[in-house]
């Protein structure tokens, strides 16, 4: 369907261009650089016209257009410095620079049509944290090809670990280990958040292994159902964990709050100009944002290194053909468990950091929807592609946090009660109420037109279009996997 639509558009396009003497053949005769430049200039020009026409012109638009044009036209991909290929760092570097400096220019940006103002800093923090989670899930879904519908369990374990090690939850124990911002006489266990992040990662990885051992023997649909079950179990435990065999683990529906904030202490503040305590910092959201960016960078680094390693190849091999992988000596259970544990680790770190940012861990944050939400980020962005997954995470988090309500406000203002264009409906439409319906539509459209995601890995794209071996490794006799892991 899409192909024929595209074909029709393309034919119409060339028919128009033919009128001014530019045929398809002549166009292909130009060098690639020329073609790319012309295309970029045309598109960016259209973009600038749009910005101007919609009345949101700002002089910075010229700057943005220039940067974009340079990034598209300059053939930096092949730049080398002393034989090392530095070109591949240009684009990520530019994106990083634009991201890191966002707190300085974000509030000065003009309002966009339909979408309204640029995202607030709290939304940016959430975008980064969900990027870490989505990248974690990408190890499981994108690399190893295991469908996990209970990823929220790892987020929850991470958040509650932060609750256990950095709050007043266990008031009869008094431990202070590098925590910042404690008042005199504070009870409970208080570790430095930096340490808590590592503990949370480790504990969650352990949880991942424990959940993985019984479930990873299953394949496909069965695995998805069981992970879904585990996600729900963790949620239920969180909700009812105020009296588990007499112990109050999770404080029930109230959740654990307050959780300490991160910080570097007074010494680092005096000598290194680092914030002593994030929660009392004047630019609270900014420091949380920059720290989250560092967490994303670490996750990206680990993702890239593992992807190109022995372990990463084994994951892809299992995804492509489990039987062949096993026959080539890839231990299925161990390799899958590694994917699970790695994914869980980052889910735990992100969960603990988010809990510290929000100042608490609440069971209502760990509903099944969140699992689907994170999975949708991975699928929309492009399974297996780091940049795609980050894009998916940022975009969906933005929609969730403010995008939808902004769009809703715009719609109501123009078409709602007393709308200034034409009144189509008579009661104010609460767009965020329909968020899961909207995500559903986005996913369905993605699956129809671009099943590999917006920014796919080339291998994943090929799999979607060419298919992979989909034979099941089951014994006819027992209806169970025919081999078991030797322990």
């Amino acid at each position: 369907m899409w192909r024929s639509v595209r074909g029709a558009i393309s034919r119409a396009w060339w028919a128009v261009l033919g009128l001014v003497g530019l045929t398809h053949e002549r166009w292909l005769g130009y060098s690639r650089l020329t073609r790319r430049t012309v295309k970029a200039v045309v598109w960016i020009g259209i973009g600038l016209l749009l910005v101007w026409g919609l009345g949101v012109w700002a002089n910075s638009a010229i700057l943005a257009a220039a940067v974009l044009l340079l990034l598209i036209v300059v053939p930096y991909q092949n730049w080398t410095v002393r034989g090392r290929r530095v070109g591949k760092w240009v684009l990520p570097g530019a994106v990083l620079l634009i991201g890191v400096t966002y707190p300085f220019y974000g509030t000065h940006m003009p309002e966009l049509p339909i979408f309204g103002p640029f995202p607030q800093m709290s939304t940016m923090v959430a975008m980064m944290i969900f990027s870490v989670m989505a990248l974690g899930l990408n190890f499981v879904v994108g690399y190893a090809g295991l469908l996990d519908l209970g990823y929220v369990a790892f987020y929850a374990v991470g958040a509650y670990t932060a609750g256990w090690f950095a709050s007043n939850q266990f008031a009869n124990r008094n431990v202070d280990f590098g925590a910042v911002g404690l008042l005199k006489g504070t009870t409970g266990i208080h570790f430095s958040i930096w340490l808590v992040l590592i503990i949370a990662g480790a504990l969650t990885a352990l949880a991942g292994i424990l959940i993985g051992l019984p479930t990873l023997r299953l394949r496909g649909d069965y695995l998805a159902i069981v992970t879904l079950g585990f996600g729900e179990i963790v949620h239920q435990v969180a909700q009812n964990g105020d009296s588990l065999a007499g112990f109050n683990i999770t404080n029930g529906t109230g959740g654990i709050t307050p959780i300490d904030g991160p910080g570097f202490g007074n010494w680092a503040r005096a000598h290194l100009h680092l914030p002593a305590n994030y929660l009392t910092a004047t630019n609270l959201d900014n420091v949380f944002f920059w720290t989250a960016v560092i967490l994303v960078l670490i996750t990206v680094f680990v993702s890239a290194r593992l992807r190109d390693s022995r372990l990463g190849r084994a994951w892809v091999a299992i995804r492509e053909d489990e039987i062949a992988a096993a026959a080539m000596g890839v231990p299925l259970m161990r390799t899958k468990t590694w994917a699970y544990a790695t994914g869980a680790f980052f889910g735990g770190v992100a969960g603990a950091y988010y809990a510290s940012y929000k100042g608490g861990a609440f069971p209502d944050d760990f509903f099944f929807q969140i699992s689907v939400f994170i999975l949708a980020m991975v699928i929309l962005g492009g399974m297996g592609n780091i940049w795609g997954v980050i894009f998916g995470a940022c975009f969906l988090t933005y929609l969730n946090q403010e995008g939808l309500s902004n769009v809703g406000a715009w719609l109501n203002g123009h078409f709602g009660p007393g709308g200034d264009v034409v009144q189509v409906w008579h009661k104010t439409l609460d767009v965020p109420l329909y968020e899961f319906g909207i995500y559903g539509v986005i996913l369905v459209v993605t699956m129809l037109f671009r099943p590999e995601g917006l920014i796919p890995s080339s291998r994943r794209a090929a799999e979607f279009h060419e298919g992979v071996h989909e034979e099941y490794l089951y014994d006819v006799e027992h209806g169970a996997p025919i081999y078991e892991e030797a322990t």
């Binding site: 680990v302 190849r313 096993a326 026959a327 080539m328 006819v476």
Partner: protein, 261 residues
């Protein structure tokens, strides 16, 4: 068990429900030998292969390799001990490059763990580059020179077969199991492949167990031939003897095979 046997099965049996696919087969492959397994379609050859590589668990009986009982072990243990295999219907990792396919085959021989990889320690770096070097050598040995970066799916049929062998060789096997390697090849490719099998033994020093329908390959290259029919071993011996064996002729070869040689 006999002293020089690399692989030995004792009363190996596989039942699927009421069907006996492999019926108490005793079988050996001596060190450094090229042995062929023949039989009509549905005789249980591939099922037998799958038990020799741990993909199927035998209903009863044992598989010994190098004197060690591997019965019931998972497939990667078989690979680790030194059994490499190819598949009847090619099972490459279709969307990986030729070199990556071979590198997956090296999985059991590499040691780098996740932490060394993330930190890219000198040891991990060295191991990785050595593996790539050896991968390229194996591709060249298998006749896939300069095809390192080709995606598996884009290779020609014959090259895909060769890549499967290269991938199996990357596991550093002592015994290589080839499941109908010349199926779908033209006579010239078949002849080349026959030479290649002989070269495997002389240059890589591996024993080869071959399932094959093409009698020119079987008779040309094997030291010994075993014949299965309805899961039962009906004959075993040198190619010449097998050609004359009446039960075999009746079950499988037909008169043409006798007159053509």
């Amino acid at each position: 068990m006999s002293d020089d046997a690399l692989l030995e099965t004792q009363r190996l049996r596989k039942e699927f429900g009421g069907l006996v696919a492999v019926d108490d087969v005793d079988f050996t492959v001596p060190e450094g030998a090229i042995v062929s397994l023949i039989g009509p379609n549905g005789a249980g050859k591939t099922t037998f292969f799958n038990m020799l590589t741990g993909v199927y668990k035998p209903t009863s009986g044992f598989v010994f390799f190098g004197g060690e009982n591997l019965t019931g072990k998972p497939p990667h243990t078989f690979t680790h001990r030194g059994i490499g295999r190819t598949f009847q219907n090619i099972r490459l990792f279709q969307n990986m490059t030729a070199l990556e396919n071979v590198l997956v085959g090296m999985h059991v021989r590499l040691k780098g763990n996740a932490f060394q990889t993330i930190l890219r320690t000198p040891k991990a770096k060295h191991e990785e580059s050595a593996a790539r070097e050896r991968g390229r050598e194996l591709l060249e040995f298998s006749g896939l020179r300069r095809k390192d970066d080709e995606i598996g799916r884009n290779l020609s049929y014959g090259d895909q077969r060769r890549l499967e062998v290269a991938r199996a060789l990357a596991t550093q096997p002592k015994l290589l199991l080839l499941d109908e390697p010349t199926a779908g090849m033209n006579p010239q490719e078949t002849a080349e492949f026959t030479d290649f099998v002989a070269k495997l033994r002389s240059e890589q020093g591996v024993a080869v167990l071959l399932i094959e329908h093409d009698m020119r390959v079987v008779m040309g290259v094997s030291d010994r031939v075993t014949v299965l029919d309805y899961g039962e071993k009906i004959a075993e011996g040198e190619p010449k003897e097998i050609q004359k064996n009446e039960r075999v002729i009746e079950a499988y070869l037909g008169k043409a095979a006798v007159t053509s040689s």
